[in-house]
């Protein structure tokens, strides 16, 4: 059986980069199924969490499940590429 998709986005404060990443994150929400969970961690507020996950760069998007974990670094400009790397369902304009 396939595990549910769980995504965590690590951002650093309210920067332009963070906002771009958050917008892209929201758009991902629309295309991934409803059983997927989304979480945002601001490393400035919660550095311990960044420590545990050993995050270096921000923004970093982590697909926690399904295992194995996968990561993408950057402001997620190219969403198609993000979906491909994280093996998320492709954006299908006809089902929307």
């Amino acid at each position: 059986m396939t595990q549910a998709i769980h995504l965590t986005l690590y951002i650093c404060g309210e920067t332009v980069r963070s906002q771009n990443a958050l917008r892209a994150f929201d758009r991902l929400r629309d295309t991934v199924g409803s059983d997927a969970t989304f979480r945002v961690v601001d490393v400035v507020v919660d550095p311990d969490e960044a420590e545990t996950a050993r995050i270096l760069a921000t923004p970093t998007l982590v697909r926690e499940t399904p295992q194995p974990q996968r990561r993408v670094i950057g402001d997620l400009e190219d969403l198609d590429q993000v979906r491909k790397i994280l093996s998320l369902p492709p954006y299908d304009r006809f089902t929307r």
Partner: protein, 506 residues
């Protein structure tokens, strides 16, 4: 020499022995220092010691950011230096920021990014421990992992600035590709280049030589040039601050017996209390004998004596001394004499120097004999040896120890050795032992070539060795060219011959 002006910025003592001397106090406080070196140049040990000394000597907490080595490995590797990182972590005085690479940790890079997460983690660790010292080791690793050089350089500058506002003294390490190429592979020096230290591990004549150079401290003074250093088990890095040594020792005109009354006479009444004597001669000319006499003279006068032997074993030395009527064995039992025998090859020349200093500080001898310096020369480059001799003699003079070094000449007849050319100007007295061949017979000659601050015998005298040791006899007459190794007998002039005829036989 002390350069201290009101405008100079504060220094943070590193606690690395010798380094604070060449750095005139330590690293610029509250700034970032870039520590560069090729692979295996001890960057990580240096930076770890900076933190460990901070905790042990100055009660300053530390944060270590590792981009390369695994945290578990670091804890384990430094155990030999006596740095108990695990305990310090438990006490909240040491924190790791683990940025070592693991598979899956770095994803693909899509778009712009910064190192905000790293900065947040470092700041968090500094706040939690109250750290005053931070190390980032080594920067090259993140460049290979995250690629984008421009972004990373800017981010490192930002981290450096953030640490500055937190008032911590930071060391960033970076790898060099070659010893003489650019400072760092990724041009980091252009960003964090207020202070740069270079560690080198150069192969010289089949031997590795470690040196440390402060390239620049912005707004602060430091010693220039390379200084050798050693990494010792149990203590870590020790820099040998050669030119920081001051020529300030007091001088004494007190004479001490050389151990041979004949030699005392030749030297105008014995050696000086704080002088360094070099005995040079070919193999078998009696150098070890002379050092034995020298030590025996000290023992008789109730002084503490130290013998560092690099050619013969303890048993051999004791047996030889016995053969000349000197009892080393009971002297050592009574604690008045200490004999240390080692092959020079067991350690590097820098290690030997530190080791010898340690022995001298522990034993506090009045007299020291080294038999022979040439044996130590064997394991070192020319420069390394020169530094060894300078470092050793200045240390000995500081402690006002009378010392006798022996040196081997490579040829049987005449000649001088490299050892002599290096150290003759540093020693106060030079005694030459030479073979003299005449009419198919070999005899030994001794002469005092130089004796600082004293009258001395200018003649080359014959000497014999028997069961009581050395006996110096008459000067060689009618012979020239002994020093050059080509003795020639010449006929005495008629007047001298006739003069001799009228001396009454005794």
């Amino acid at each position: 020499m002390k350069y201290s002006t009101a405008s100079e910025i504060d220094k943070q003592h590193t606690g690395i022995p010798g380094f604070d001397l060449i750095a005139y106090g330590g690293l610029p406080k509250g700034r970032t220092t870039l520590l560069v070196g090729t692979a295996g140049s001890a960057k990580t040990v240096f930076s770890l010691q900076f933190l460990a000394s901070g905790i042990m000597e100055y009660n300053q907490s530390a944060v270590f950011v590792t981009f390369e080595e695994m945290v578990e490995d670091i804890r384990h590797n430094v155990a030999g230096f006596g740095w108990t990182i695990k305990e310090w972590e438990a006490e909240g005085r040491w924190a790791f920021v683990d940025a070592a690479p693991r598979p899956l940790d770095d994803g693909e890079i899509l778009g712009a990014f910064d190192l905000g997460a790293l900065l947040a983690r470092v700041e968090n660790a500094v706040r939690r421990t109250g750290a005053k010292r931070v190390v980032l080791d080594s920067l090259g690793a993140i460049f290979t992992r995250l690629g984008d050089g421009t972004t990373l350089r800017n981010e490192l500058l930002r981290i450096s600035a953030a640490l500055k506002t937190m008032g911590v003294t930071t060391v960033m390490t970076a790898e060099r590709e070659t010893e003489d190429g650019p400072l760092t592979r990724y041009g980091i020096e252009e960003f964090v280049a207020d202070n740069v230290i270079i560690l080198r591990n150069v192969k010289d004549n089949e031997r590795r030589r470690r040196t440390c150079e402060i390239l620049k401290f912005r707004g602060a003074y430091h010693q220039k040039g390379e200084f050798p250093f050693a990494i010792l088990p149990g203590t870590g890095i020790q820099v040998i601050p050669l030119s920081a040594i001051e020529l300030r020792q007091s001088s004494s005109d007190l004479r001490i017996p050389s151990g041979s009354t004949d030699l005392d006479e030749m030297c105008g009444g014995g050696f000086f209390r704080d002088s360094i004597v070099l005995v040079s001669g070919a193999t078998g000319t009696g150098k070890t004998l002379m050092s034995t006499h020298f030590l025996n003279g000290g023992l008789k006068a109730g002084e503490r004596c130290l013998l560092l032997a690099y050619e013969e074993s303890r048993q051999q030395l004791f047996r030889n001394a016995q053969g000349w009527g000197v009892d080393f064995e009971s002297a050592e039992k009574s604690g008045q004499l200490r004999v240390c025998c080692d092959y020079p090859e067991v350690a590097s020349i820098e290690d030997h120097l530190i080791n010898i200093k340690q022995i001298i500080s522990d034993f506090k001898p009045d007299r020291l004999a080294i038999d022979s310096l040439s044996a130590i020369e064997r394991i070192s480059s020319e420069r390394g040896f020169r530094e060894f001799v300078i470092g050793l003699t200045s240390f000995i003079k500081h402690g006002e120890v009378a010392a006798l070094f022996t040196s081997n000449t490579p040829t049987l007849m005449g000649g001088s050795s490299v050892t002599e050319t290096h150290i003759s100007s540093i020693t106060d007295s030079i005694i030459l032992l030479r073979y003299v061949e005449l009419f198919g017979e070999i005899s030994r000659g001794v002469m005092v070539l130089k004796m600082r601050g004293s009258h001395h015998d200018k003649e080359i005298r014959e000497f014999n060795i028997d069961g009581d040791g050395m006996h110096i006899g008459r000067p060689f007459r009618n012979i020239t060219g002994i020093l050059a190794g080509r003795p020639q007998h010449f006929q005495a002039s008629e007047t001298e011959r006739i003069e001799g005829l009228f001396i009454e036989p005794k």
